[in-house]
């Protein structure tokens, strides 16, 4: 397995528990799509969920609860909703995500383009696909809020290491980095971001108003 960077263990547990907001869920699901490793972690966490559920002190239901549900067992199930059609041609995304609406590419900063994904319900986290030119250097930045990144193609490096397809990067206010994009190929990533980027340094002060993320 060449994937070196994974979501944190609490994040994987929170995913399995259904506790992530949908934007974060999308970022973790994108990583899981290519990471058998973390899929096993999710299964382990779900087994724990089952064990914990079994161990909970029961909360009694109404006396007639079983009778009422038995009356409904013969009801036909609602037909499943038709399978959504995949509209995105971006590889490496889980299929549920490919059926959502993707906005057109738009320039964000020099050598950087983004494509927003319209999630079907409101979430505090925005999700978009980011494309950076090969060999470019992103500005030193910190985060207000946090940023989850899953690489789909190409790669980048910062002081946290090298990130290639499937790798998962977590940026929060404690992290300040200046990623440089691998040579030879566009770097395409899925990004889930809460809050906004804060660019540092004089150049950051100058370009901040022009960076729309």
């Amino acid at each position: 397995m060449s994937i070196a960077h994974h979501p944190s263990a609490p994040m994987v547990a929170a995913y399995a528990a259904g506790r992530l907001d949908f934007g974060q869920h999308v970022a973790v699901a994108t990583h899981l799509f290519s990471c058998q490793h973390c899929r096993n972690q999710v299964r382990a966490a779900e087994q724990t969920g089952g064990d914990l559920l079994s161990a909970l002190p029961p909360a009694p239901l109404a006396n007639d609860a079983l009778t009422r549900i038995e009356a409904r067992l013969a009801e036909p199930d609602k037909p499943p909703p038709p399978n959504p059609v995949a509209t995105s041609d971006i590889p490496g995304l889980p299929s549920f995500l490919r059926s959502y609406r993707f906005d057109a590419w738009r320039p964000v900063a020099p050598s950087l383009e983004a494509r927003a994904i319209r999630l079907p319900h409101p979430t505090p986290t925005r999700v978009f696909v980011l494309k950076a030119r090969p060999g470019s250097r992103l500005l030193l930045h910190t985060h207000k809020g946090f940023e989850l990144t899953c690489v789909l193609a190409g790669g980048f490096s910062h002081e946290g290491g090298h990130f290639g397809p499937g790798d998962f990067d977590i940026g929060d206010s404690a992290v300040s980095h200046e990623p440089s994009i691998d040579a030879g190929e566009d770097c395409i990533s899925l990004v889930a971001m809460q809050g906004s980027l804060k660019l540092r340094g004089l150049l950051g002060l100058l370009v901040q108003p022009f960076v729309r993320l």
């Binding site: 528990a17 259904g18 096993n40 972690q41 382990a44 559920l53 029961p58 067992l73 549920f96």
Partner: protein, 191 residues
């Protein structure tokens, strides 16, 4: 203790199989008696009202009845499978409650189906790992279990988990990381 739990797990799997194959109402009644009040307790703990928790427990059991044929004992435990049903229904309920009027929201179930084109050996790997996962879980310290438990069942962010256990947030993260790392090595994978 482990063997009693395993016996219990086997038992529920057989009940689910009876529901799937013969629409066995007695088996369903046993499943209902054990799981419905625990699903209700789970919903209560995650902040649902008593009425809503009762409603969701009913809905979850109806889903168990209808989808029993999809349960695959080779890849997951019965309780874990029922847990994922309850989890998805809870997400759907929260979305309905928060919906801003713009049409129906898709069901969460599909969003957890992550390997839509599974490689042939994934199913096998999953079956092999579930036993290892269980033995790995048995070796977690009570404190580690507690941290996982809090992220499962209580509406608490990690900062509050740290406060409740009076340990610094970095420790919560590193303990969970350690626990997961141990899991990974027990699963025979490189980290």
């Amino acid at each position: 203790m482990g063997s009693i739990r395993d016996a219990g797990r086997q038992d529920w799997a057989a009940h689910l199989a009876a529901v799937a194959m013969h629409a066995d109402r007695a088996a369903f009644a046993s499943l209902f008696a054990f799981f419905a009040p625990r699903i209700k307790a789970f919903m209560r703990r995650t902040g649902e009202s008593d009425a809503q928790a009762e409603e969701l427990a009913q809905e979850a059991m109806l889903t168990v009845w209808r989808k029993a044929a999809l349960f695959d004992p080779a890849t997951t435990g019965a309780a874990a499978w029922i847990f994922t049903i309850a989890r998805n229904l809870r997400i759907d309920a929260q979305r309905r409650a928060r919906r801003d009027g713009a049409g129906a929201t898709p069901a969460a179930t599909e969003e957890f189906e992550i390997d839509d084109a599974p490689l042939p050996d994934i199913q096998l790997a999953a079956a092999q790992s579930s036993a290892q996962v269980r033995s790995a879980l048995a070796q977690l310290s009570p404190e580690q279990i507690r941290v996982v438990e809090m992220s499962f069942f209580e509406e608490k962010p990690h900062t509050e988990i740290a406060e409740a256990l009076s340990i610094p947030i970095g420790t919560v993260k590193s303990r969970l990381r350690l626990a997961m790392k141990r899991l990974r090595s027990l699963l025979g994978e490189e980290t």
